[in-house]
C-alpha cells in the first residue's frame, strides 16, 4: 500500500516517484465517489490514505476552538476521529457478521472514501458561516448537508450493496445510514465560538 518516496529501480536507475502514483490513485477514488456508479475500483485497490486525509480534515474543522468551554460544546478532535473510525469498524464487523463477503479493509476503505461529500459540505458550511447568521444561513446549510448526506449514502450503497446476501441488504445498509446521519448532524450543528 505505502511505498517509499524514492526507490531505486533495477540496475541503479531511479524509478519515477511512487508518491505521485499513490496520490493519483487516491484522486481517482475521489472521482469514483463523486460520480458513483457500480464499479469495484474502490474494492479492488483499496487503500486507507484517502479515508485518513478526509477524517483528519473533518475532525480539524469540527473541533471546538476553546478547550474548556463552560457549557457543553461540540466535539474535540479526538472525539470526531474516534467516532468515525469506531463507527466504520462497527459497521464493517456488522456486515461481516451478517454474512457479507467483503474484506475488513475494503469495507473501511469504502466507508472512509464516502465521507468525501460530507467533508465538502463541512467546507461549504464554514464558508457560509462567515456570512451573517440567521434563518436563511441555516436553511442554506441544511440544504447542503442534506444533499451531501444523500450523496454519501448513494455512493456507499453503490459500492457495498453487492457484497451482501440479497435478503439482508437492508440490515447491512441501515448502520451506514445511521453513521452518515450522525456525522451530518455534527456538521449541521457546528457553530463557531
Amino acid at each position: 500500500m505505502a511505498k517509499a518516496v524514492e526507490s531505486s529501480g533495477e540496475l541503479g536507475t531511479t524509478s519515477p516517484r511512487p508518491l505521485m502514483r499513490d496520490l493519483k490513485a487516491v484522486g481517482k477514488k475521489f472521482m469514483h465517489v463523486l460520480y458513483p456508479r457500480k464499479s469495484n475500483t474502490l474494492l479492488r485497490d483499496w487503500d486507507l490514505w484517502g479515508p485518513l486525509i478526509l477524517c483528519v480534515t473533518l475532525a480539524l474543522m469540527l473541533q471546538r476552538s476553546s478547550v474548556d468551554s463552560e457549557q457543553d460544546g461540540g466535539p474535540q478532535f479526538a472525539e470526531v476521529f474516534v467516532i468515525i473510525w469506531f463507527g466504520a469498524v462497527t459497521i464493517t464487523v456488522n456486515s461481516k457478521l451478517l454474512g457479507g463477503n467483503i474484506s475488513f479493509f475494503q469495507s473501511l476503505c469504502v466507508l472512509g472514501y464516502c465521507i468525501l461529500p460530507l467533508t465538502v459540505a463541512m467546507l461549504v458550511c464554514r464558508l457560509v458561516l462567515l456570512a451573517e447568521q440567521g434563518p436563511i444561513n441555516f436553511m442554506v446549510r441544511l440544504f447542503v448537508v442534506i444533499v451531501m448526506f444523500a450523496w454519501s449514502i448513494v455512493a456507499s450503497t453503490a459500492f457495498l450493496a453487492d457484497s451482501q446476501p440479497p435478503n439482508r441488504k437492508a440490515l447491512a445498509i441501515y448502520p451506514v445510514f445511521l453513521f452518515y446521519f450522525v456525522i451530518s448532524w455534527m456538521i449541521l450543528t457546528f457553530t463557531p465560538q
Partner: protein, 315 residues
C-alpha cells in the same frame, strides 16, 4: 417390527427425519396449546415451498434444542460462533419489531417471533439508534425552547451521547443478566415448563426498547403534558410486551414471587423511561450545575451560582 422402528425412531444424529414423523420428541423447552402445526401428529406433509423452508429451519433448531438447548456449534473463539447471532433476514427483523409494537394478549413474543433464533442485531442497533435519537432530539428541543432568546448560545451538547449510551446499553445487558440469573435460580426450585435462554431475554429487552425511538423523536414537542402522555403510551406498550413474555415463565411459581417478578420488571422499565425523560428535559442545566458544584467544592470559585429553577420547560 416395533422394536426396530423404535430404534430407528430415536437415531437423530444419523437419520434425517422430518418433524412430522417424531412430533412429540422435539418440544422440550416451550410448550403450549397453540403449537405450530408441524409439531402435531399427522400425515407427513409434502407441502409448498414456504412450509418446507420452515420445516427445515425448525428441524435444525429442534435437533440442537435436544442437544443443549442452544444453537452454538463452533467454539466461542471463532468468528462463526458470533455469526450465529446475526442469522436473521430483513423480514424477520421487521416482524420482530412489529411484534414489539403490537402486543397481543396471549401471544408470547419469544415463542411467536424469536422461535429459538435469538439475534443480537436487533438489540444492538435499536439501542444505538435510541441513544442518538435521545441525544439529538434533546438537543433540538433545547434549541426550540430557547429560540428567539438573544442571550442563548447554541451548543451541540456532545456529552449527552456518551452518558445516554452508557445507561441504555447497561440497561439492555445487565437487567436481562439479572433476570436470567433469577429465573435460573427459581427454575432450580420450582420446575417451570417455560424457560428462556439468556440471549432470548436480551432479544426481548432489545426489541421492547424500539417503541422509545419514535417517542424520543416526538419529545421535541415542548409541551409537558404531551411528553408525559407519550411516555405513558410507550411504557404501556413495552411494559406489556415484557410482562406477557415473562408471565408464562413465572406463573408456575409461588403466586407472590411471580407477581413480584413482574412488578419488578415493569418498575425497572418505568425507571428507565421516566429517568430518560427527566434527563432529557433538564440535562444541560443539571450537568452544568453539577459541574459548577464540583468546581466550587474543589476550591476553584468561578463565581457561577446555580441557575434558579432546575427545569425550564414551557407548559
Amino acid at each position: 417390527m416395533a422394536a426396530v422402528d423404535d430404534l430407528q425412531f430415536e437415531e437423530f444424529g444419523n437419520v434425517t427425519t422430518t418433524p412430522a414423523e417424531n412430533p412429540d420428541a422435539t418440544t422440550i423447552n416451550i410448550e403450549g396449546p397453540d403449537e405450530s402445526p408441524m409439531h402435531q401428529p399427522g400425515p407427513p406433509r409434502g407441502s409448498g415451498g414456504e412450509e418446507d423452508d420452515e420445516l427445515l429451519g425448525n428441524e435444525d433448531s429442534d435437533k440442537t434444542e435436544l442437544l443443549a438447548g442452544q444453537k452454538k456449534s463452533s467454539p466461542f473463539w471463532t468468528f462463526e460462533y458470533y455469526q450465529t447471532f446475526f442469522d436473521v433476514d430483513t423480514y424477520q427483523v421487521f416482524d420482530r419489531i412489529k411484534g414489539s409494537l403490537l402486543p397481543i394478549p396471549g401471544k408470547n413474543f419469544v415463542r411467536l417471533y424469536i422461535r429459538s433464533n435469538p439475534d443480537l442485531y436487533g438489540p444492538f442497533w435499536i439501542c444505538a439508534t435510541l441513544v442518538f435519537a435521545i441525544a439529538i432530539s434533546g438537543n433540538l428541543s433545547n434549541f426550540l425552547i430557547h429560540l428567539g432568546e438573544r442571550t442563548y448560545h447554541y451548543v451541540p451538547e456532545f456529552r449527552k451521547v456518551s452518558i445516554a449510551a452508557t445507561i441504555i446499553y447497561a440497561y439492555a445487558w445487565l437487567v436481562p443478566l439479572a433476570l436470567w440469573g433469577f429465573l435460573v435460580w427459581r427454575n432450580s426450585k420450582v420446575m417451570n415448563i417455560v424457560s428462556y435462554s439468556f440471549l432470548e431475554i436480551v432479544c426481548v429487552y432489545g426489541y421492547s426498547l424500539f417503541v422509545y425511538i419514535p417517542t424520543a423523536v416526538l419529545w421535541i414537542i415542548p409541551q409537558k403534558a404531551v411528553r408525559w402522555i407519550l411516555v405513558m403510551i410507550a411504557l404501556g406498550i413495552s411494559g406489556s410486551v415484557l410482562a406477557m413474555t415473562f408471565w408464562p415463565a413465572v406463573r408456575e411459581d409461588n403466586r407472590r414471587v411471580a407477581l413480584a417478578t413482574i412488578v419488578a420488571i415493569v418498575l425497572l422499565h418505568t425507571l428507565l423511561s421516566v429517568g430518560c425523560l427527566f434527563s432529557f428535559m433538564c440535562f444541560g442545566v443539571c450537568l452544568s450545575w453539577t459541574w459548577h458544584l464540583l468546581q466550587e467544592s474543589s476550591g476553584r470559585a468561578d463565581g457561577m451560582a446555580p441557575p434558579s429553577g432546575i427545569c425550564k420547560v414551557s407548559h
